[in-house]
Amino acid sequence: MADSVALRSRRAWLHRDTKGWIFVGPFLAVFALTFLAPIGYAIYLSLFREQAFFGGTTFVGLANYADVLRDAKFWESFGRVALFLVVQVPVMLVLALLAALAIDSARLHASGFFRIVIFLPYAVPGVVAVLLWGYLYGTNFGLAADLNDLFNTTAIQPLSQHWMLPSIANIVTWEFVGYNMLIFYSALRTVPEELYEAAAIDGAGTWRTVLAVKLPALRGAIVIATIFSIIGSFQLFNEPNILRTLAPNVITTYYTPNMYAYNLSFAGQQFNYSATVALVMGLFTAVIAYVVQLRGSREAL
C-alpha cells in the first residue's frame, strides 16, 4: 500500500516534471543552439592551432590563452578601449542625464521636439553615421578642411594619430546620448507623483528635488546604462573599422580587441587565436560589468 502511494506520488512528480520541461523545452533548444553552442564551439576552437598552409590542426591546450595574455597587440587594443571607456562613457552618460532631466523638468518648451531630435542619431544606421562623420572629418575636402581654411590653419586634424580616439568618441557619443537619455527619461517617468508632492511640501526647490528624489530614483537605470556602455566600449568595432578606409595608417588592424579578432580570422585565417582573443575579451567584459552591477546594487541598498 505504502509502496503504491509512493509510486503514485513519484509518477505525479514525474508528470509535473515533464510538463515543465515541455514548456521550457522550446526556449532551451533555441538557447542551446544559439547561445551555448557557439560559445562551446569557440572554447573548442581556442584549444587548437591550425596552420592555414601545410601542417593541419594540433591540440595546444591553453597555449593560445597564454599567447593572448603575452600579446602586445592585444594589450594595446585593450588599453585603447579601456581609455575610451573611462573618458567617453562618463561624458556620454552625464550628457544623457542632463538631457533627460531637462526634458523631464517640464520647464522646456517643445520638450517632445528635443526628445526626438536627441534620439534621432540613434535611429541613423551606425554605418551611415560613421560615413557621415568621416566626411565631416575629412581634412582635404570635408568640414575640417573648410574650418582650417577659414582660420588659416592646419590644426584641425580629426583623423590624425592623436585625434582619432576623441573623434571616434565624438561619433559614439552623438549616436548613443539619445538612447541613454531615453532610458533615464523613462525611469524618471516612473517616479510616483507623491514623492514630488512630498518634496514640495518639505520645501525642496528644483535642485533639491533633483538631488534627493530624481537621482536616487535613477540609480538602477544608471547602473544598467553604464553596463551597456561598458559592453559597447569593449566591443568597439564599427566606427574604427569604417574610418579605417579614411585613415588606414592610424587605425591598425588591432585598433580595438574586436577589430583584432575580426582581422585575425578574416585576413589571417587564424580562427583559433581569434576565438581565444574573443573569449578572453568576453571574460574581461563580464567581470567588469559584474563588478559594476555589484557595486551599483549594493549602494542602492
Binding site: Q51, A52, F54, F141, L246, P248, N249, F266, G268
Partner: protein
C-alpha cells in the same frame, strides 16, 4: 569530385570494419548513411555531377561538358561580368551560370575563404587577382587547369600575366585583364606650372618639389601606403623580395630593388610631397578631378576608372610611360585578375569551359567593350584597340602607350603565398612610416618581421 571521392573512401573504411566486429554495426550503418548523405550533398544542385561516364581531366572533357550543359556559379566583381554571363548563356543555352557579386577585393576573398573552409558553398568559378592567386592555389583550393590541357594556351597571353596564373608548376586560372603600369598625368596642371613629363624617378621627385612649392595644395601624386602599389614599385625597380619554393619562403624587403625604390620614394614621403589621400576614397576621386593630384603611377586599367568616376578630369588627363631609374623602359604589373576553377566545383569541366570562353574566346569582347585592358596578345596588337583615340585623354591614343608598357614588364616577379594577409597588415607596419613621414625602410623591416612570424605559424619555413 574530390568531396565525393573522399566520402567514398570513408564508406569503404567503414565497411571493412563491419566485417571485423558485428557489434559495431550500428555505428557503421550510421557512418555509411552519413557518407551517403555527404555524397548526395556533394552532388546536390547539379544534375551532371556524379555521372561516372564523364571522362575526366582532358581537353575533350571540356567540350563534352559544354555540350551536355549544366549549372555553374560564378563570383566576380568585374564590370563586364554580367554582360559576359548573358552572352555565354545565349551562346550555350543549356548552361546556366549563376552570377554572384560577392563583394570587391577583400570582401570577396573573405567570403571565398570562408566557403572553402566550410567545405561547401564555393562557386565553381571565381575571379582571383594575380596577387591573391598563390594564396588559394597552394593550399589546393583551385583546379590545376593543365588537367584540361589549358597549358597549350600559353602563346595567347602576355608573359607577365601567364606567369601570374602559375603557382609552382601548376596553372590555376586563365588571365583576364592586365595592369602594366604607366604614368597618368593631368596635363592642365603640368602646363600651368611649367612641368615636363618625367622620364626618370629623379625627374619625378624634382617635378613634385616644384609643384608643391608653387602651390602647397597640389601634390605630384597621392600615397598613404598601399601594399599593391609598393610591391609593384619594388617589382619595377627589379626587387624580388618574395621567393617561394614549396614550403620554403624567403622574404627580403631590403634587397637592392627595394632599396632603389625607397631611395626615391623616401624623398617624397619625408618631404611631404605626396598627398595623404587614400586611394579609392571619395576625396581621391575629387582630387583627381580638380588637379590636387597631378599624376598617378598606376595600372593600365585606370582609363576606365577615370572615365566613369572622374568626370571632371575629362580632357585633362594624358598617359606617359612610367618613369624609370635609368631612363630605359621598364614597368611592372599593378593589379589584374584571372578566373579560376575551384576544387569544390561539382562540375569542374564545365567550369573550365566557362573560364576558357571568358578569357580565351568570345568573352573577351564584352570585356574590352566595358573598358577592360586585356592580357591577350592578339587584342593588345589589334590596331582597332591600340590606335583608338580617346576623347577623355584629349584625343591621345592612350592604348599605344599602355600596350607598349605591356611588353616591358620586368620578369620573374612573384607574390607571397599569403599576400592578402601581408597586404592587410601593411598599414600596421609600413603605414607607421607614412604616418610619421619618415623613411620607409624601418617600416618595411617591421612588415618583413611580421610576415616571417606569420609564415612560420602557417606551416612555411620562412626566412628573411
Amino acid at each position: 569530385m574530390n568531396a565525393q571521392k573522399k566520402s567514398n573512401n570513408e564508406r569503404n573504411t567503414a565497411m571493412k570494419s563491419s566485417h571485423r566486429r558485428s557489434a559495431r554495426r550500428l555505428l557503421v550503418v550510421t557512418a555509411a548513411v552519413t557518407a551517403a548523405s555527404l555524397v548526395l550533398a556533394a552532388c546536390g544542385g547539379s544534375d551532371q555531377a556524379g555521372s561516372s561516364s564523364q571522362p575526366q581531366g582532358s581537353a575533350a572533357a571540356v567540350d563534352e561538358a559544354l555540350a551536355k550543359g549544366g549549372t555553374i556559379t560564378y563570383w566576380s566583381w568585374t564590370p563586364s561580368a554580367e554582360a559576359q554571363v548573358k552572352a555565354f548563356e545565349k551562346q550555350y543555352p543549356n548552361v546556366k551560370v549563376n552570377y554572384v557579386n560577392a563583394g570587391t577585393g577583400n570582401d570577396h576573398y573573405t567570403k571565398l575563404q570562408n566557403v572553402i573552409k566550410a567545405g561547401s558553398g564555393a562557386p565553381d568559378v571565381a575571379q582571383i587577382e594575380y596577387q591573391a592567386l598563390p594564396q588559394f592555389a597552394l593550399p589546393g583550393s583551385l583546379v590545376d587547369l593543365r588537367e584540361y590541357g589549358f597549358d597549350s594556351l600559353e602563346s595567347a597571353y602576355t608573359a607577365s600575366t601567364w606567369g601570374a596564373v602559375h603557382a609552382g608548376d601548376g596553372l590555376f586560372g586563365l588571365p583576364q585583364d592586365s595592369g602594366p603600369m604607366a604614368l597618368f598625368y593631368n596635363k592642365e596642371v603640368f602646363d600651368k606650372y611649367g612641368l615636363t613629363v618625367p622620364k626618370t624617378w629623379d625627374e619625378f621627385v624634382a617635378a613634385g618639389k616644384k609643384l608643391h612649392q608653387a602651390d602647397p595644395k597640389k601634390y605630384i601624386t597621392n600615397d598613404t601606403g598601399d601594399a599593391g602599389f609598393a610591391t609593384s614599385m619594388i617589382w619595377q625597380a627589379g626587387g624580388k623580395p618574395f621567393t617561394t619554393d614549396g614550403k620554403n619562403v624567403t622574404i627580403n624587403l631590403a634587397d637592392d630593388g627595394t632599396k632603389k625604390w625607397t631611395g626615391v620614394w623616401n624623398q617624397l614621403v619625408t618631404g611631404g610631397l605626396v598627398a595623404s589621400i587614400p586611394g579609392w576614397s571619395d576625396e581621391w576621386f575629387k582630387a583627381l578631378g580638380d588637379g590636387t593630384i597631378a599624376t598617378l603611377p598606376i595600372g593600365a586599367w585606370m582609363p576606365g576608372v577615370l572615365e566613369s568616376s572622374v568626370k571632371a578630369g575629362a580632357g585633362k588627363w594624358r598617359v606617359a610611360p612610367l618613369p624609370t631609374y635609368d631612363g630605359q623602359p621598364a614597368t611592372a604589373e599593378n593589379g589584374g585578375s584571372a578566373q579560376s576553377v575551384l576544387k569544390q566545383s561539382a562540375n569542374p569541366a564545365l567550369a573550365a569551359a566557362f573560364v576558357r570562353w571568358l578569357n580565351h574566346g568570345e568573352g573577351v569582347k564584352p570585356f574590352l567593350s566595358s573598358g577592360g585592358f586585356p592580357s591577350t596578345v592578339a587584342d593588345l596588337k589589334d590596331p582597332a584597340f591600340v590606335d583608338k583615340k580617346s576623347a577623355y585623354f584629349g584625343g591621345q591614343a592612350a592604348n599605344q602607350v599602355l600596350t607598349a608598357a605591356a611588353g616591358t614588364v620586368v620578369k620573374d616577379w612573384s607574390y607571397l603565398p599569403f599576400q592578402l594577409y601581408a597586404n592587410s597588415i601593411f598599414g600596421d607596419t609600413v603605414g607607421k612610416s607614412y604616418q610619421a613621414k619618415t623613411d620607409l625602410d624601418p617600416g618595411l623591416k617591421a612588415w618583413q618581421d611580421a610576415l616571417v612570424t606569420y609564415g612560420n605559424q602557417q606551416g612555411f619555413q620562412t626566412n628573411s
